[in-house]
């Protein structure tokens, strides 16, 4: 009955708007994911190697972000910061808030990954005459990064899902676009079906990728 009532012209009539919205979702996600990757590797390395001051500051950053709701963080950046004279446009708030959140979770992913690399491997690097940076780039990063890859993709999936919260700042990504279409057309069933199917397609593709990577990239010695 529901399938019969589904008005397929809805999809073709609103395709342009929906594709634009999806494009914005993916664009903000891409920026946020790349940023979170850099934050995760750099601060995760600082945490794992206990680099003074940087490590402590990174710990505070991680705890504050992980223990407060992302929606409140978005409100804080959008409405709280202008009081200090920091005014950001919707697009900047969008990628910044999502990136800062993803970065904090990624620091933990990479810290755990780097710490799982046995100390002897690093010592072997020093014995070969590598400096600290060369040891990190040639030994800790490839092995620890491989361990951190699956959990970090999980974080990126959450990053993509979190872009839906940009609805509150009226940034016209996928969810905001769908809600606007719904307000105009009142084709509620069609709107939310398309919205849900789109998110599930993205999320299921990525979680399928994780399962594939986990079997392909598993370390021969189980990470030891």
């Amino acid at each position: 009955m529901l399938v019969a009532a589904f008005d397929w012209t809805f999809v073709s009539e609103n395709a342009d708007a929906l594709v634009t919205g999806l494009g914005r979702t993916l664009w903000v996600s891409t920026i946020a994911i790349l940023g979170a990757l850099v934050i995760g590797v750099v601060l995760g390395a600082a945490r794992a190697h206990r680099i003074p001051i940087v490590s402590q500051l990174a710990a505070i950053y991680v705890e504050v972000i992980r223990n407060t709701p992302i929606l409140v963080q978005i409100f804080f950046i959008l409405f709280g910061l202008p009081q200090l004279g920091i005014r950001l446009d919707a697009f900047t708030v969008a990628w910044l808030a999502i990136m800062v959140w993803g970065g904090a979770f990624n620091v933990e992913n990479f810290r755990a990954g780097f710490e799982a690399v046995p100390l002897q491997y690093r010592e072997a690097g020093y014995a070969l005459g590598f400096g600290r940076l060369a040891t990190f780039a040639n030994i800790t990063l490839p092995i620890g990064g491989r361990i951190a890859l699956a959990p970090s993709i999980n974080t990126y999936i959450s990053v993509i899902k979190n872009t839906s919260l940009l609805y509150v700042i009226s940034y016209e990504e996928l969810t905001t676009t769908a809600l606007n279409i719904n307000a105009l057309t009142l084709q509620t069933v069609e709107t939310f079906t398309v919205l849900a199917v789109t998110y599930l397609a993205i999320v299921w593709t990525l979680s399928g990728l994780i399962r594939m990577l986990e079997s392909h990239l598993a370390l021969p010695e189980g990470g030891r």
Partner: protein
């Protein structure tokens, strides 16, 4: 340093209305997620394809959708199907969080139940327990130990995600904070015409931090003690 006049009524409003609202959604969501999740997760361990496929679909759908989208579906889409499916913001948000939370618990329960050695099932069967009795009195009490750390983590996530209810207008902490900001910003005679968004949203963050931080520590401690 004295506390400015605007603070006291805002704190009282946010504590009496907002905090109460947040705890109401969080409590309903935690209980609902735990009950439904443990039930589904236990049934998921039965090797019967149709039920497994159905529960897997349930888990993957509600885990895969952004919670905001789930809540929008419940709040905006369900009433268009039937007028009996019309919910107030608190109920809609709680249902959304339960769908998402029970999916998380179901997955964790499956792992916990499967980690209990086969001998425990056999011993329970030898004592004359049927499938329900085996699980209710022998398997689940043992699995619960393993389930405790993920349940505490879930509580942290539920508390943080209650803020999503703000989007559909439920008077939880963030919503009462926003209303306070707006009231203070309004020019006289309605309000004092002062901007205190920075202090209020920083305060909201602090409240959530104080609720979440001890719980994340507890979850990490339980996790360590288990392994």
């Amino acid at each position: 340093m004295t506390i400015p006049d605007w603070v006291e009524p805002v704190v009282r409003y946010m504590a009496e209305v907002g905090l109460k609202g947040t705890l109401r959604i969080a409590a309903a969501s935690l209980v609902g997620s735990a009950v439904i999740g443990i039930l589904l997760g236990t049934v998921l361990t039965i090797n019967f394809r149709p039920t497994r496929a159905l529960i897997r679909l349930y888990i993957e759908v509600w885990r895969g959708l952004p919670i905001l989208v789930t809540i929008f579906i419940i709040f905006f889409a369900l009433p268009s199907l039937s007028s009996r499916l019309e919910f107030d913001p608190f109920t809609a948000a709680s249902i959304g969080l339960i769908l998402w939370g029970s999916a998380q618990v179901a997955e964790a329960t499956r792992g916990a139940v499967e980690s209990i050695p086969r001998e425990q099932h056999e011993a329970a069967a030898a004592l004359g327990f049927g499938w329900v009795g085996q699980h209710a009195f022998v398997i689940l009490p043992q699995a619960l130990r393993r389930l405790l750390p993920p349940l505490v983590s879930l509580l942290v996530n539920i508390i943080q995600n209650t803020t999503i209810a703000q989007v559909i207008g439920a008077a939880e902490i963030l919503e009462t904070g926003e209303r306070s900001v707006e009231r203070l910003t309004a020019p006289p005679p309605i309000g004092p015409g002062e901007v205190h968004a920075f202090e209020i949203y920083a305060g909201v963050m602090a409240v959530f931090f104080m609720m979440s931080f001890p719980l994340t520590r507890l979850a990490a401690y339980l996790e360590r003690r288990l392994t």
